[in-house]
């Protein structure tokens, strides 16, 4: 089996099971049952933000390679500036905390935990009686992607593992080269600023805090997972601290914009 296929199928299996368990434990069967009965109406209600997200994703899939070319030719080459700003922070992080167990943990969080983290809230908020939150979530996702794509084009920079391989090990790909088949499909190595892993995770984390009344169990879990993904981006040598700060700012901006764009019903 090709490496890509095997990674994708194991991803589908694990995330699928996690979603199932979490749905029962967090959303509760009663709400799930309600969602099942009302699914068509609710999907119809959220059609606009859903369509917006799909458009952004398609545009990103199609336009990515040409925007990448634009970035190569005209983008700001800022690798050195990022490095000058933060120096060896990521190298320090790796050398101070690096251990095989942590590497295994962060690798799985970076791939499996992240996908779960993005997928679950969609289900959870769709199961809420009112669709405001799920609309806001979708709008925030779309904003993250859209703004992220613009910044990727403007900023041309490589991550720490590509710039200082003598100090920062590319832990994810060294220990799990098969993941590279997957991330290579969805990511360019020059798209480091901002970290989209960070921004989407922080977005989900922020929503989890804002919806703590609805899902009190989800809030600490999401916060834990989001924080893990954020640290994983740096621990694994993929992103700079600067990317993470940029990603956090992008997330907070996207969430607050989504609240402005989607009013309370």
């Amino acid at each position: 089996m090709s490496p890509l296929l095997s990674v994708v199928s194991s991803l589908a299996l694990w995330v699928g099971s996690a979603l199932l368990v979490a749905s029962v434990a967090i959303i509760r069967p009663r709400r799930l049952y309600g969602l099942w009965n009302d699914l068509r109406d609710r999907l119809w209600e959220i059609r606009k933000p859903l369509a917006a997200l799909v458009v952004v994703l398609i545009a990103s899939a199609i336009g990515r390679s040409s925007l990448q070319t634009v970035s190569e030719l005209f983008g700001l080459q800022l690798t050195w500036a990022i490095y000058a700003l933060e120096g060896n922070f990521v190298a320090w992080l790796q050398s101070t905390f690096g251990s095989p167990q942590l590497t295994m943990y962060f690798s799985s969080v970076y791939v499996y935990g992240y996908v779960f983290l993005l997928a679950f809230p969609f289900l959870a908020y769709l199961a809420l009686p009112r669709t405001t939150t799920v609309k806001r979530l979708l709008v925030a996702y779309a904003l993250n992607y859209a703004i992220g794509l613009v910044l990727y084009t403007v900023v041309f920079a490589y991550g720490p593992r590509n710039v200082m391989p003598d100090m920062v090990t590319s832990l994810l790909f060294t220990h799990n080269p098969e993941f590279m088949a997957l991330t290579g499909e969805v990511n360019e190595p020059t798209n480091v600023f901002p970290s989209l892993h960070t921004s989407l995770s922080v977005t989900v984390g922020t929503f989890a805090v804002l919806t703590r009344r609805e899902y009190p169990l989800w809030t600490p879990l999401a916060a834990w997972l989001a924080a893990s993904v954020v640290i994983a981006t740096m621990y694994l040598g993929i992103h700079w601290l600067t990317d993470v700060i940029g990603g956090t700012a992008l997330a907070l901006g996207a969430v607050s914009l989504s609240y402005r764009l989607v009013d309370e019903e």
């Binding site: 490496p3 050195w80 490095y83 490589y158 090990t169």
Partner: protein, 679 residues
Amino acid sequence: MARHVSRRETLAGVGIAALSAGCLDRTRNIAGRDRSSQLTLEINAPPADRDPNAIRIARHLAENLNAVGIDARINTLGLTDLRRKVLINHNFDVYVGQFREAEPFDPDAMYAFTHSQFVAESGWQNPFGFTDINGTDELLASQRRTGGDERREAVEDLQRTLCELQPFTVVAFPDPLTAVREDRFENWTNRQPLSVGGLLGVERVDAGDGDADGTGTESGDGTAAGDNETTAGDNETTAGDDETTAGDDETTAGDNETTTSDNETTANGLIGDNPFTDSGDEEGDSATLRLVTTDERITQNWNPIAAEYRRYGTFTSLLYDRLALVEDGEIIPWLAAGWERVGDSGIEVSLRDVDWHDGKPVTAEDVAFTYEFLQDTSMGTTESPVPTPTFRGRVSAVDEATAVDEMTVRLTLDGVNDAVGVRALQVPILPKHIWEERTDVATIAGFEVDAETTEAVVTNNEDPIGSGPVRFVEASPEESVAFERNPDHFLVRADDGDDSTGDAMDPLAGIPERFRGKPAFDRLEIEVMGSDIAAVQAVGDGFADATVSNLGPDAVPRIGREADARLVTGRSGGFYHVGYNTRRAPLSNPRFRGVLASLIDKRSLVDIAFDGYAEAAASPLAAAPEWVPSDLQWGDGETDPVHPFVGEPGSLDAETARDRLREAGYRFDEEGRLIAPGA
């Protein structure tokens, strides 16, 4: 490139005070001077995913530059962008890269690389803007024209001059490391496994041995290098195995989970019964040689003269035959059946009977056109010629090329010796009927962007039509590319015709036995991987037969851990070097470059950046040690004979390095930063 606060800003700041004080003249004298600032150098290198060694050299240099008070910035760039910046636009301070010769080379390779006559051209000719009209140019010219001891002396002096003046600093000659698996293809040479000769020399593993994907490799025969005999044991393959046809040429398909490959054109009968190469018509995968690389350029561009896209030009050399092929010092008449010297400076070359991939015959006219075209790709239509960005030194040795008859071409050499003459025979021969359409100035949407650029040097050359042993099939940019065996190539067609020896005209005269009937694969697939580690893993897991691109210190130890993968290594000519843009101060100063050279700890770099798989060197010709004078040779574990590293191995003596810079006339501020000399 120094940054300055502009004069106007400074004046604005102090203007009012100065006016009120009434000492305008004195203020002008001070403010009129550019303010001093720290020297900044930008070091350009490809990212670790693309070249795991170069970035390590760049990091090492940057660290030591910072230690002596120079603000060094690393700029990581994709391979194509890096080349464009350095070779085409000359818009760089320092770069780290590899020389473009895969194998040990003749000293004349330095001609285009360092001769000052090429400073204004773009491409692989003198990217440094290096000018030394007293020594280097003369020596370069004289090594071309003389022979014997006289040439040797010129070459030795040339190396001494280059080492002294350091337009670039040679760091090390890397071993061309390759992870290969040998269950499907064997006979990988230990010299240059992935050169043209190396790839053509590869043999299919005999029937019964081909556990095609390595998925079910048993403990027994997988690791045994090379010559594992046909074990009948693992022949329980299911489908595809019953067609084992005549003789011993069959590899079983196994179960191929990789892409279904091909519909081979073997049906055309020409090679229908060739015992060496024919795969029959039945299965696909077992006859496909699968390579992995981290260098995506071969999936985007097949222009043999494009400087940005070619590394060694191995695959374009498989597409485009050259008149001669040189392998391990052996000169093999290739597209040329042979040649002889006529008169003082002429060579008369007779061609083999071959066709282009589109079926048109290769004629002397094409060859004559190629040499004229590479001198000026505009064929005289622009104000000044637009020469080829690669092979420039080689074609500059040819004054004139004329077709004598259909199959004979006469090259008039520029008074060069035989060695340089043979180099001149090694340029890709291009089909006139395709490339004569590409002589116009390159345009974007109909607008001329630069009169110095022709279509020929910027075209991606989609659907390349050459005459070589492989043909282009398909590609998906940045992912993969596929070639197929050219059944009409002279290696195959002539070998097929007859094998009786007593023939008067052997169509394969001069071709070594190991190339006859080759290539042994029906299809050649190259897939782009994310990093050197992923590439090694792909070979270990049986998704690929060999790695093409460079392997770094993290990837090499993996090969030992992968049971089926084996490390092949040989000698390379593609030395890593640090190139300086001598057009820019203070890199224009050879004394300054000399100090930079002594900041590079080549010996430690060989251990750290190459895991020991490289040879540190001072001279660019070190791969051909017979040319290197004893005073430039790198003894065992010793330090650089010309610019020894300042400090102990592994630790820089920054204070001594600063003293050297002070001696050379440079100044430091109170914080120890090197002050940029006035630009």
